[in-house]
Amino acid sequence: MKGLLLLILLTIATSGFGINASDSSGVPKFVESQLKLRPQLFVPIQFAGNIGWFSTGIGYSAKRDLYQLSFVYGYVPEQVAGIDIHTVTARNIFHLYRLPLNEQSVLIPYAAAGVSLEVGGRSFFTLPDNMSPGYYGFPKSLHLIPAIGCKLRRATPRRSNLKGVELFAEVTTVDVYIWYKTISREVRMPDILSASAGIHFFPGR
């Protein structure tokens, strides 16, 4: 499994969106300026990360490019999770640093916090009527999903309908898992961490 992961990762990283791709004519000179200075809408597509097997929605990159907010719908099919799961998540992404790699690419480490709500499942947000008030203290359908990751922002050719893309990979966990890890030596980091990857498309020109 690890080998397969590495193979997939290396394939992506060395493909057209990857760092090693050679520049072609028509690639704008460092579109970082376009993406950085104006508020931008983007379309996120994510695999895994505790918010769905697949999740997508719409995002907004704030002016000065320090913060992104996205709203995504996530789905996990029964074949994958044993049960159909639907979630809606507000993801807050905070850019920590910017490291230009070349005229087309910049590397951005980030921290993220998603507020994720399961909808249509067996978990509950408000206490069911058949339970006594205060029987459970917290909504069971709501979780904070923290993440740290790194994204590669890359300009796209001028003839494209995209200004740029961000390829990202991150490590995520779930609020209660952090609590368990904090209070218990029996909980190891690999027990509570998992990986995810995705892409942000910045449409328009």
């Binding site: 990360g49 769905g52 790194c150 209660v176 218990s184």
Partner: protein, 273 residues
């Protein structure tokens, strides 16, 4: 530049993924897709238990740990304490083995209990039903209601959670389990019958069925009814009809309980660790 880029982007990602590769991808905390190796845990433990059945010597002890929730250190310490004894035949967990019924919580419990030297058996609790916990529980452990015998004693594990899994507790099954002869031995005259369910019958959510439950216990000669839910060790013949009702404390209180069984007596005690 390309080499630097590769090292800056790809290598950290590989490191991150490798670091988190116990279960590389998690799609939701609400997943209910249990790995094959965890499944049928109750059946596997019963096979281990039956292998150690010594009916010729009917005296034995059972350790009980309830409501461990997310207290994994305390649970591990209780297991270590039990492992240090040589007089415990098996361990019972009478419910609330998770906090939110999440698969990761079941996984953490499973990893701690894997260290237990003797077989362990479970009863589902109200927290274990939360979200998709009921499905996960049944995948890992099997049926919610089940019976087994050990050294001529019949144990009846009974699911009486009715709020988190809206249903009527299956008292018809319970009565049948109390009445039936053993499929293995063909006998119905056990030395003892012991009922274990998570929520004590005097709890407010079961109060409507308390007297019926008690009448079943009395009609079938049950002397001990064991529960959890209250997080405190408590033992009392509270209806004064010869049946002792016991709640087992949480390991977060640094104690577990031991049921001592002889051919003609049952005795529960609290063990601090």
């Amino acid at each position: 530049m390309c080499g630097i880029s590769f090292r800056l982007f790809v290598l950290p990602l590989i490191t991150l993924l490798t670091f988190s590769c116990d279960r590389p991808f998690s799609y939701s905390p609400f997943e209910a897709n249990v790995p094959e190796e965890w499944r049928n845990t109750t059946q596997k433990n019963l096979e281990r238990l039956h292998a150690s059945d010594t009916s010729s010597n009917p005296d034995f002890k059972v350790a009980l740990i309830s409501d461990n929730h997310y207290h994994y250190n305390d649970l591990a310490d209780a297991v270590a304490h039990i492992n240090g004894r040589d007089d415990i035949s098996f361990v019972m967990l009478p419910g609330d083995i998770t906090e939110n019924g999440l698969q990761t919580e079941y996984e953490l419990l499973y990893k701690v209990m894997r260290k237990c030297r003797v077989p362990y058996l479970t009863v589902i609790g109200n927290h274990d039903y939360l979200s998709n916990g009921g499905s996960i529980y049944s995948q890992i452990f099997g049926p919610f209601n089940y019976t087994f015998t050990f050294n001529d004693v019949k144990f009846i594990a009974f699911d009486n959670v009715i709020w988190e899994d809206p249903k009527e507790a299956d008292y018809t099954w319970l009565e049948s389990a109390l009445s039936n002869t053993s499929e293995e031995t063909g006998r119905s005259d056990y030395n003892h019958k012991i009922v274990i369910s998570h929520i004590p019958p005097m709890d407010r959510q079961l109060i409507a069925k308390r007297d019926y439950f008690d009448s079943l216990m009395a009609a079938h000669g049950v002397k001990f009814s064991i529960h959890g839910h209250k997080h405190e060790y408590w033992s009392s013949p509270f209806l004064n009809n010869g049946i002792t009702y016991t709640t087992v404390g949480s390991p977060s209180k640094r104690s577990y309980a031991v049921l001592t069984v002889t051919s003609d007596s049952l005795h529960m005690s609290k063990v601090d660790f």
